[in-house]
C-alpha cells in the first residue's frame, strides 16, 4: 500500500487540508492523518453509499464529492475514488477552490473515473 500512503501524503500536503484519511469501501483504513478514524471511516462509508443510491434514483451520473459544511468553516469532504473513499478535513481559513482543484488533480491521476475539476 505504499502508493496509497504516498497519495495520502500528497493530499495532506495540499494547502488548506487539515488532515485526511483513505479507506477502502469495506471500511479498512489504508492511511490517515486525522484522529477519530473509526468515526470518519463510518461517515465516509455510510454517506457515499447513500449518495450512490440518490444518484441511481434520480438518474445523475458520477458523484464527485460530498461536503459537510460547518459553522466553524472546517468543512469535511468525502471523495469516492473507485473502491476507495478519501475523507478530507479542510482548514478553516483557506482558498477552498484552490484546495479542491489540487485534490481533484491528484484524484484524476489515480482514478479510473477521470475526475475533472470539481471546484
Amino acid at each position: 500500500m505504499a502508493t496509497a500512503k504516498d497519495f495520502v501524503d500528497q493530499v495532506n500536503k495540499i494547502n488548506g487540508v487539515a488532515g485526511c484519511l483513505l479507506v477502502r469501501d469495506d471500511g479498512l483504513v489504508i492511511d490517515q492523518t486525522l484522529g477519530d478514524v473509526e468515526n470518519y471511516s463510518a461517515l465516509l462509508q455510510m454517506s457515499s453509499g447513500l449518495a450512490d443510491d440518490i444518484m441511481t434514483n434520480v438518474g445523475f451520473s458520477h458523484c464527485h464529492y460530498l461536503s459537510f459544511n460547518r459553522l466553524n468553516n472546517q468543512t469535511f469532504y468525502a471523495f469516492p475514488i473507485d473502491k476507495y473513499l478519501l475523507g478530507i478535513l479542510q482548514q478553516a481559513d483557506c482558498s477552498v477552490s484552490d484546495m479542491l482543484d489540487r485534490v481533484s488533480y491528484l484524484i484524476g491521476k489515480v482514478s479510473t473515473n477521470q475526475a475533472t475539476s470539481v471546484a
Binding site: M46, L50, D53, I54, F60, L66, N69, R70
Partner: protein, 215 residues
C-alpha cells in the same frame, strides 16, 4: 409555504427545492415535474440519513452538499426529521443559497410554515408504467439523437435526463409514430418553459425534422 421556496428558485442556477419529512414525505416542492414526488421522498430520506450521520460527527453541521456531474444537491435540516434540499446547476452561487437557507430556516423556526403540516403533498403511487414499445423505424433514431443533442444546447447538463423522461412519457401515450413528433416537441417545450428558448430549439431541430419528413 410554496412562495418561500419559490424565492430560492430565483437564485441563478437553482432548479428548485423540496421540503421532506421522514414520516410524512414530501411537504412541498417546486422542482420540475420530471422529479417525481415518490423519488423526491426517497432522496429526502437518504439526505436525512446522511445529515444524521454527519451530525453525529459534527455538532456544528449546517448544510450537506452532494456534487454530481450534472447537478449539485444542497440540503439543510429545518428540524428533527424535516429537511429542505435544493437541486442546482453546478455553476450555482453556494453562498447566496446558503444565505437564503438561513433566512428560510429562521422563518421556519418562527412557525411561518405551520400551514404546511395541514396539507402535505398527497403521495400517490404512480401506476407502474407499461413497458414502452420499442421505437419503430417510423421515427428516425437520427432525428431523436439530433433532438436530444439540440436540447443540450438549450437546457445544459440536465437535458439528456429531461429528454429521456419526456421520451418515456411520450412512448407511454401512444405509438412512436412520426405523426406524433409534434406531441413530443410540445412536451419538450413545456420543460423548456421559455418562449425564446422554445423558438431557438425549433430552429435547431428544423433541418433534422425536414430531413426526417423527406425520408
Amino acid at each position: 409555504m410554496l412562495h418561500l421556496i419559490d424565492e430560492l428558485k430565483v437564485i441563478p442556477g437553482v432548479m428548485g427545492a423540496c421540503i421532506v419529512n421522514s414520516q410524512t414525505g414530501v411537504q412541498v416542492t417546486n422542482l420540475p415535474a420530471l422529479f417525481r414526488v415518490e423519488r423526491l421522498a426517497l432522496v429526502g430520506k437518504h439526505l436525512l440519513k446522511i445529515y444524521a450521520a454527519g451530525r453525529m460527527s459534527f455538532d456544528d453541521l449546517t448544510d450537506i452538499t452532494l456534487n454530481y456531474d450534472e447537478s449539485v444537491v444542497v440540503a439543510r435540516e429545518l428540524e428533527k426529521n424535516t429537511l429542505i434540499f435544493a437541486i442546482c446547476d453546478p455553476t450555482f452561487n453556494q453562498n447566496l443559497l446558503s444565505m437564503s437557507f438561513n433566512l428560510l430556516h429562521e422563518e421556519f423556526k418562527l412557525g411561518n410554515f405551520t400551514e404546511v403540516e395541514a396539507e402535505p403533498v398527497t403521495m400517490v403511487a404512480a401506476p407502474a408504467p407499461p413497458s414502452p414499445p420499442p421505437v419503430e423505424s417510423k421515427i428516425s433514431q437520427a432525428l431523436l439523437a439530433e433532438m436530444k443533442e439540440a436540447l443540450g444546447k438549450i437546457l445544459g447538463p440536465m437535458a439528456g435526463f429531461i429528454f429521456d423522461e419526456v421520451m418515456d412519457n411520450w412512448l407511454e401515450q401512444g405509438a412512436p409514430d412520426s405523426s406524433r413528433i409534434e406531441e413530443l416537441i410540445d412536451q419538450l417545450n413545456q420543460e423548456i418553459d421559455d418562449q425564446d428558448k422554445i423558438d431557438k430549439y425549433r430552429q435547431l431541430i428544423s433541418s433534422a425534422l425536414e430531413d426526417s419528413q423527406k425520408g
